[in-house]
């Protein structure tokens, strides 16, 4: 850099101020270049270098992130995926939370099936279940909007409202320090979504369709959530069964570089379908 300054000095007017100015300009150039270079990310990193405390947990994807992809899996028979029974209102708060998540996921299936009446029923069910766990206020507007938009057959709008309902319910629960119930809402939604996803992939198996099940961190996250729940909730029979299902699913979808075979898809479907039936049952 000094020689570059000297060259500038010789070419320009031979006074000290020019030299200082030139050096400043060159210095500025090198400084800017240096800071731009500092922002270049490394092409690879060693993830094990990050201590556990500096790794934040996964945020559970909202259903529309998954359903947007499902739209591309040919033309599935969505009507066949709908659970048509009347939604019950269990007395156990944990089961209500799981059911609420499941009902919201059901709403997405009804949207895919373009079943206006079912969407409206589910919009009302969201309100009833939210009421049972004291978060009714957070979803009144959403429920109304789901019904209005279903009448207008504004399916994109209905999806956005179901997504919003899920997020609003979870936020309201977090505010009430009911994080565990909020996690059960997410878990209920994930189980019903996976139940449907596996049914659709199984009906028309492709490797790329099955790849959508590659969600290892999400399964581990739910396992950790259950592990850190208060004993009473963790020992809830339904939660115990769900934990068992997660332990069985985890190794199937965590095999790096291996395709998820049709048999594995079927196994996950059986597991999730059974547990969703239990979430929806009276027991």
């Amino acid at each position: 850099m000094a020689s570059f300054c000297k060259t500038l000095y010789k070419r320009g007017k031979s006074n000290t101020s020019s030299l200082v100015l030139a050096c400043l300009l060159v210095g500025l150039f090198f400084f800017s270049f240096g800071s731009a270079k500092a922002d270049q990310p490394p092409a690879s990193i060693n993830l094990s270098d990050f201590p556990a405390a500096s790794v934040q947990d996964v945020v559970v994807p909202v259903p529309s992130e998954i359903f947007a992809v499902l739209d591309k899996l040919g033309n599935p028979n969505w009507k066949a995926q709908l659970r048509l029974g009347k939604t019950r209102n269990p007395s156990d708060r944990g089961q209500v939370a799981l059911l609420l998540g499941s009902v919201i996921a059901e709403g997405f299936i009804a949207v895919e099936a373009e079943d206006t009446e079912r969407v409206k029923d589910l919009g009302r069910d969201v309100l009833t279940l939210a009421d049972a766990i004291n978060v009714r206020k957070s979803v009144i507007a959403r429920s109304k909007s789901i019904i209005e938009k279903a009448d207008q057959r504004d399916w994109r709008g209905v999806r956005a409202e179901f997504d919003g309902a899920l997020q609003d319910v979870r936020s309201a629960m977090d505010e009430m320090n009911d994080e565990n119930l909020a996690q059960l809402v997410s878990l209920g939604g994930w189980l019903r979504g996976t139940d449907t996803l596996t049914a659709i992939v199984n009906d028309n198996y492709t490797v790329s369709g099955a790849e959508l099940l590659h969600q290892p961190e999400l399964v581990h996250y739910f396992e950790r959530c259950i592990h850190t729940m208060p004993t009473r909730m963790r020992k809830n029979l339904l939660v115990v069964r769900i934990n068992d299902v997660l332990h069985q699913i985890a190794p199937i979808i965590d095999e790096k570089g291996k395709n998820i075979t049709r048999e594995k898809v079927q196994k996950i479907h059986t597991l999730t379908s059974d547990i969703v039936a239990k979430i929806n049952s009276n027991s």
């Binding site: 922002d39 500096s54 996964v58 994807p61 947007a68 992809v69």
Partner: protein
Amino acid sequence: MLTLRTSRFSLLTLLFLGIVTSFSSLHATVDDALSFAYEAALPYYKQYAIRKDAWGGDLGPGDKQAITTQLFKGNDYWFLMASDVPKASISVHLYDSNGKLVESESWQKMNEKKHFSSAGAHIIPKSTGTYFAIVQIIRSPEERTHWALVYGYKDVK
């Protein structure tokens, strides 16, 4: 005695005010970082659904944090980060579960007029799975810099 009581009272009042002030300023900065992250996401709102859920925290200069995400092949994602420290240089970059840089583009901005700094990273995942958003406070005049990260998604047509 009166003087002692008065000084004790003043001390307690000052302590209380101090606690309240630091508590509210702590919240203000976390909230500000989040507001700025949503502001950084504004240009994307038309095309992307921006999630309400967000990550956040505070880091020292040079510190990094890894954020685990589940991304799906067939979707298109933007991750947007902001800090309420306008002169901070911050970044977010996206890596797959093998630690390979996988973003298709990224940017960093110091919005001194708007009093915040921001960064973004874009990815159209080639496979469904676990990804990591690595956020970093590259430089900052503050000892601890609050940051927040949001993301938006849309399906690839």
